[in-house]
């Protein structure tokens, strides 16, 4: 019966540590849009622009966020629509800001049993008013969990 004990031992080793992570969420699920702010030095060069007191407001919501001394923000796109507008003032002392309009498509992707799903976006177009913003461009089309700049805004 010695061999039988061996196989029983193996049996317990196999399953003693096999608890999975099916009930915990260990992966990121938030997929915010990264907006980087730059100062256009000349036609070829641009540098990071540190905004002293950025006022930020997603149009259609009541929330306004004010952040100081930042050169990038990460904001959620509207998952219920295919477009989102943001109102941005680079400095709260200024009377007017700009409206940025972003259009995109939206994919539901499974992450894990613990986390559920995430929304991954693919940017189509981006437009802005020009009160303070000089130009805007899409740098990275896929909006995922990577926390990278998807859009570059030049002042």
């Amino acid at each position: 019966m010695k061999y039988f004990l061996y196989v029983l031992g193996a049996f317990f080793i196999l399953f003693s540590t096999s608890c999975g992570d099916d009930k915990e969420c260990n992966s990121p699920v938030k997929t915010p849009l990264g907006i980087g702010f730059f100062q256009q030095i000349n036609q070829e060069k641009a540098s990071d622009s540190m905004l002293p007191a950025l006022s930020f407001h997603p149009i259609g919501t009541v929330d306004t966020s004010i952040q100081t001394n930042i050169n990038a923000i990460y904001v959620p796109l509207n998952p219920h629509n295919n477009s989102t507008q943001f109102y941005i003032r680079p400095d709260t002392t200024l009377s007017m800001g700009d409206t940025i309009s972003i259009s995109y498509t939206n994919d539901l992707q499974f992450v894990s049993a613990g986390c559920g799903f995430k929304n991954v976006y693919h940017l189509d177009t981006v437009q802005t008013t020009h009160h303070h913003i000089d130009s805007i461009r899409i740098k990275l089309k896929e909006v995922n969990v990577t926390q990278q700049n998807n859009i570059e805004v030049f002042y």
Partner: protein, 275 residues
């Protein structure tokens, strides 16, 4: 990173299992009276019982059978059932229910240590197909500013298919009673699932979050002794050559005799003509 950790964990467990079970095998080199008989071996996967207690959201029943068709070749089949009810509300809940069928062959790599040895170390291949209903009763993605995304997917029937390579060992511990383990590498053939939503767990395949999965099972099985194979007559190679040579000699001798008889006949005919 997390997936690598899981793979490493399974790999270490498999090494331990192999060492322990090989040690077990070396103790099991005993011949049983039933070894002279062949028959259908049927059994069930015991490893699915503790899995149900460790991962309470899944219930599995796996049965298997194999039949020796040649010296080292077996045809093998597996069938079973899985029910999964995962409730990680509000983020995710999942329900599925299904059956599977696998068919393939096993090849015994073990040289028998004694006549009719039934222990085996085997490699095998399988084709698997499942029929299952799966639903996502609710899911939720948290969103600041915009409000949470909530949704559901109703029941849908799907029939995923996969291929499988297996390596394992079967040891006869009592008369006709076998304990065995197997390592399984499965590769999903069906990859395009409706709406991009693949099933979380496929019966007979396992957790299907990736296309390739690794699994270990531990089985108990019983061989129903049905018939006693006729021993193949062993023909000595030298004897065989000798008899072949003898046949050729006999053939030559017969031919010579025939030639001599023909010659004699011709001579007699010629003599008769001349006279």
């Amino acid at each position: 990173m997390l997936r690598n950790k899981i793979i490493l964990r399974y790999f270490i467990k498999s090494i331990f299992a192999f060492i322990f079970l090989f040690a077990g095998y070396t103790q099991a080199l005993a011949q049983f009276p039933s070894d002279a008989y062949h028959g259908l071996r049927i059994g069930m996967d015991l490893s699915r019982i503790p899995i149900h207690f460790i991962k309470d959201y899944r219930t599995d029943l796996n049965f298997h059978a194999d039949l020796k068709v040649d010296t080292n070749l077996y045809i093998a089949a597996e069938t079973g059932w899985n029910k999964t009810e995962l409730n990680n509300k509000p983020a995710f809940s999942y329900k599925s229910n299904g059956i599977f069928l696998k068919a393939g062959i096993d090849y015994n790599l073990l040289n028998p240590s004694f006549p009719f040895e039934s222990n085996m170390v085997f490699v095998g291949v399988r084709y698997g197909i499942a029929r299952m209903d799966r639903a996502i009763p609710s899911y939720q993605i948290e969103y600041p500013y915009w409000g949470d995304v909530k949704g559901e997917f109703p029941y849908k029937t799907i029939t995923p298919q996969w291929g499988e390579a297996t390596l394992g060992m079967k040891v006869e511990v009592f008369n006709n009673l076998f304990l065995s383990w197997g390592l399984h590498l499965r590769m999903l053939i069906t990859r395009n699932f409706d709406n991009g939503l693949r099933p979380y767990l496929i019966p007979g395949f396992g957790v299907a979050t990736s296309n390739v999965v690794f699994d270990v099972n531990y089985n108990i099985s019983y061989r129903i002794p049905l018939w006693r194979p006729k021993p193949k007559p062993k023909e000595d190679k030298k004897e065989k050559e000798k008899s072949k040579l003898q046949k050729e000699l006999d053939k030559k001798e017969n031919q010579q005799k025939q030639n001599a008889a023909n010659k004699k006949k011709n001579e007699e005919e010629n003599k008769a003509k001349n006279s």
